[in-house]
């Protein structure tokens, strides 16, 4: 029997489509649900925090999308096995809680050598964890090589309304003494284009001159004009963005800034520049 051409054409078309649909059924079938709100009670115990923290780590927090636990070799992001021990000594001046909290709230402030920056801040979208959820994640991370001590009453650095603990800024951000010794704020150092005397903390660094000079020193003014009407002008940015948004841009700029920026800039400097820009 001679099969009409139209039937053959239909057969090829439907057959190949069904074949690909069948291939699609062979792979693992997983429906990814949007993250749910995690109910956190004020009187939760440390063990409860650890349990919730692990759930967030594996789900809503997307942590295990990139991080592994107990793997070695060529990894894209640091393995977290034993993080409780390493966190206490990773950055001089930061204790375990301070380091882990900084890693979650300001992941680009310190990047483990050998890895590229790229982790999103846990309290910002797309992850967008609440302070209590981050508290739970830290409790879980404390169990990776140590014991959890986190409670709902523990003061959490970087949480809303909280200030970082003393010495929370990475020391790598300190400007070399040669660039700062014996100079007034905003005065260029010999042999440098725009060196500044760094303030001791963000609160004391509100001077506009300091913030402006820092923008120049970190190369911001190479792309951004400071005068109104210039290309990507920063003039009036304080009216367009909130302080939090300006700070966010300074720590998580798009497109990403050179790694040297993240290696050098301190939180105090970020706040100085934020203060300056917020006043523009």
């Amino acid at each position: 029997m001679r099969v009409p051409v139209g039937v053959k054409l239909l057969g090829v078309m439907v057959g190949s489509t069904l074949f690909y649909a069948w291939v699609g059924q062979l792979v693992p079938q997983k429906e990814v649900l949007p993250p749910e709100v995690v109910e956190m009670a004020e009187d939760m115990s440390t063990d409860e925090l650890v349990g919730i923290g692990q759930e967030i780590f594996e789900g809503k927090g997307l942590c295990n999308t990139c991080h592994t636990i107990g793997q070695s070799g060529a990894l894209r992001f640091p393995d977290l096995d034993g993080i409780a021990v390493r966190a206490a000594t990773r950055v001089p001046g930061l204790d375990q809680l301070g380091y882990v909290a900084q890693s979650l709230y300001r992941p680009d402030a310190y990047v483990v050598p050998g890895f590229a920056p790229g982790m999103p801040a846990a309290d910002k979208p797309p992850v967008g964890l609440s302070d209590d959820e981050i508290r739970a994640v830290i409790a879980y991370l404390q169990t990776l090589g140590g014991s959890a001590t986190m409670t709902m009453a523990t003061t959490l650095p970087y949480a809303q309304g909280a200030e970082p603990t003393d010495g929370a800024d990475p020391p790598g951000g300190e400007v070399p003494p040669t660039a700062t010794a014996g100079m007034a704020a905003g005065e260029p150092a010999p042999g440098t284009e725009a060196a500044v005397t760094l303030p001791a903390d963000g609160a004391a660094a509100g001077a506009a001159g300091g913030g402006e000079a820092m923008l120049a020193r970190f190369g911001c003014t190479e792309c951004h004009a400071t005068a109104a009407g210039g290309e990507r002008s920063l003039a009036g940015v304080g009216g367009r963005l909130s302080r939090a948004e300006i700070e966010r841009w300074l720590v998580d700029h798009r497109p990403p800034l050179p790694a040297s920026y993240h290696q050098q800039v301190t939180l105090a400097q970020v706040r100085t520049m934020t203060d300056y820009l917020a006043g523009q």
Binding site: L9, T17, Y20, G24, Q29, K30, L62, G118, P125
Partner: protein
């Protein structure tokens, strides 16, 4: 009326008139008297009226509820709906299918003018009418496809406004500055297309080519504007954390805008070529005369050639796009390649593997229509082996689906042996080798009808072989080396792999053009391709379409539960990422709908061309053209001589676009 004869005809006199009136009066009085007595006996009866129905408590409650609802509706303040639902199917699937259909037709409409312009230009430069007629026949497919694109575009906008009013309003707010240019470009493209199509052969050739160029520019610009909207949703820029617009240009020029522009431009060419080849295959299989078969064999070859030209650089554009996604968000990048969507790329490997197998098979079959020596025949099994092996490597998952016992036996989720093939080093190596093998198939096809005559041909042949082997060795070396270096170094290895393949293809092609410039040509018997080659072209078109649907899903699905990633959250009932099985079902349904519609367009086009059948049949088959894979002399002889264009729908009363007008 006639009265009976025994009655004398009445004679009306005044006396009889008075008697008649008296009788009438007395009769009336008697009737009135009788009616009065009857009325007195029966009594008064009121007029018939409709009795009111008894209202049950339930009915009353319903009436009250209705009144209450009406009152509430009158007093309720206006609230903008965030979402509306489509029963049973759901809003997301409805928009998904319509958007994909619109995209497929738009891709076809944008791609065809690109290679039509090139074919027309070849015809103009060579003064060869065959190319002009071919370009016109390709263009004739555009008119109904254009209408389909516009129709689906309109439906899509309607659906977005109705089903996602709040989000659509936000998106239109951010990109309000781009709406006017978009509308202008839309009208410009439509106007230029119909001018280009309808003025074929009626205006000067240079003006016509200029119209074609402008049509392409308008279409490309239109796509770029639309791409800004959709890429913004995945990789937003130019807005604050709360979504307020800071810079329209930054929103347009987001991370993935230009990579998507380039990727789509190339992918559209590959897709358009494959659909045009499928049209030729359809017409070939329904051809009634040898001349028709000859013409559509050539047309199918050209369409497939265009598809291959688009397919080969596509993986490189894909690399760029993926790297920009990683640059925007490592989380998104890893979700794509190592998270929820990682298995999608196994399906993609099956599709692309089939594409390469099909393309190579078609080229190998094509060697059969060349008379004389077939230098490449012995290499076909080798090439088939390489392509199959690379296909298997590409489609090998790192972590196969396993039971807990199997995982325990393997010592982890990754298979101890096959897992080695599941990493990017192996896959990059496989895809580059497949591209090289396909390129070799094409070179062998070109050589099947040629014999170089230049003195240095032997040296050039060896140089070509050495370059190809060196490129393959580079690809394999970096592939193996990638297992022994950290990830950040390994990622960079894809660049020398890609560059070595591109370099080899460029140099070998350059040498080949020089070698074959004055070569002896064999005879190509167009129209002798077996029917299975035509079904391969149909299969390739389905696979291309399905692949576009799948990649459209991953591009959009990467946003997961976000309308605008990290900024505007999807809070609808569809804010979950469906299983890959469900996604492939939606893609399959979309592909089938597309082919039903495009099949209808092919059928319509076929009807239009069949009207010129007698002119065709009257044309004798002329000498065959000998040069496959090259520009000049590519076309079959029948097309060269046919007054109707060898099956091409030449415009009535017009010659070719390049003919000089008086």
């Amino acid at each position: 009326m006639r009265l009976p004869r025994f009655l004398p005809p009445p004679k009306m006199t005044p006396k009889w008139g008075i008697v008649f009136l008296v009788v009438l009066l007395l009769g009336g009085l008697l009737v009135a008297k009788a009616a009065q007595e009857l009325d007195a006996r029966l009594g008064y009866t009121p007029p018939i009226a409709v009795e009111e129905e008894q209202v049950t408590p339930r009915d009353q409650a319903l009436l009250d509820a209705e009144a209450e609802a009406a009152e509430e509706a009158r007093t309720r303040p206006y609230e903008e709906a965030e979402y509306r639902a489509v029963p049973r199917v759901g809003s997301r699937v409805t928009v998904w299918v319509v958007a994909q259909l619109k995209l497929l037709f738009a891709a076809f409409v944008l791609a065809v003018p690109m290679f039509v312009l090139i074919i027309e230009l070849i015809g103009y430069r060579t003064k060869d009418a065959r190319y002009d007629r071919l370009a016109y026949e390709f263009t004739s497919l555009l008119a109904p496809a254009f209408a389909m694109t516009a129709a689906f575009g309109g439906v899509l906008v309607f659906l977005l406004i109705v089903l996602y009013p709040k989000f659509t309003s936000y998106l239109m707010g951010v990109f309000s500055a781009t709406m006017a240019p978009y509308i202008f470009l839309l009208f410009a493209e439509a106007g230029l297309f119909y001018t280009y199509y309808l003025s074929w052969g009626k205006v000067g050739p240079r003006l016509h080519l200029f119209l074609g160029l402008m049509l392409n520019l308008a279409g490309t610009a239109l796509m770029f504007v639309a791409n800004a909207w959709l890429t913004f949703m995945s990789t937003p820029a130019g807005i604050s954390e709360s979504g307020a617009l800071i810079s329209v240009w930054d929103a347009v020029n987001n991370y993935t805008w230009m990579p998507i522009n380039i990727h789509r431009l190339i992918a559209n060419v590959a897709f358009g070529g494959s659909i045009a080849a499928a049209y030729a295959a359809f017409q070939f299989l329904n051809a009634k005369t040898p001349e028709e078969r000859e013409h559509y064999d050539w047309m199918g070859y050209v369409g497939n050639f265009v598809a291959v030209c688009g397919l080969l650089p596509l993986p490189f554009a894909g690399y760029w796009l993926a790297s920009e996604i990683y640059a925007f968000s490592q989380t998104m990048g890893i979700t794509m390649m190592g998270g929820a969507f990682s298995w999608l790329f196994i399906i993609q490997a099956v599709l692309i593997g089939n594409l390469f197998l099909g393309i190579n098979y078609y080229l190998w079959l094509g060697m059969g229509r060349v008379e004389g020596r077939k230098v490449g025949r012995p290499l076909i099994p080798v090439l088939l082996g390489i392509i199959t092996l690379c296909f298997v490597v590409w489609a090998t998952p790192r972590s196969p689906i396993s039971t807990p016992e199997e995982v325990a036996a393997m010592g982890g989720a990754a298979h101890p042996v096959l897992g080695v093939l599941g990493v990017m080093s192996a896959k990059n190596t496989a895809v580059n080798l497949i591209i090289l093998a396909t390129f070799v198939s094409f070179i062998l096809y070109r050589r099947s009808a040629k014999r170089p005559t230049v003195r240095w041909s032997k040296a050039a042949n060896w140089a070509q072989i050495a370059i190809l082997l060196a490129a393959a060795a580079t690809v394999v070396t970096f592939g193996i080396w990638g297992y022994f270096v950290p990830a950040e170094v390994r990622i960079g290895f894809s660049i020398p792999q890609v560059l070595s393949v591109l370099f080899a293809m460029l140099i070998v092609t350059f040498l080949d053009v020089l070698l074959l410039r004055s070569a002896e040509s064999g005879t190509v018997r167009w129209g002798t391709m077996p029917a299975r080659a035509q079904y391969v072209l149909i299969f390739l078109a389905v696979t291309f379409t399905w692949l576009m649907g799948l990649m459209g899903y991953v591009r959009s699905g990467l946003r997961q539960h976000w309308h605008v990633y990290g900024v505007i959250r999807d809070t609808s009932v569809d804010a979950f990422t469906p299983t890959l099985g469900f996604a492939t079902q939606v893609v399959s349904v979309t592909v089938l709908i597309f082919f039903v519609l495009i099949g209808f367009i092919f059928w319509l086009a076929g009807l239009a061309h069949r009207k010129k059948g007698p002119a065709y049949a009257a044309e004798p088959a002329a000498e065959p053209a000998p040069e496959p894979g090259s520009g000049r002399g590519l076309a079959p002889a029948a097309a060269r001589t046919a007054t109707g264009g060898g099956g091409a729908p030449a415009p009535a009363g017009a010659g070719t676009a390049w003919e000089e007008r008086p």
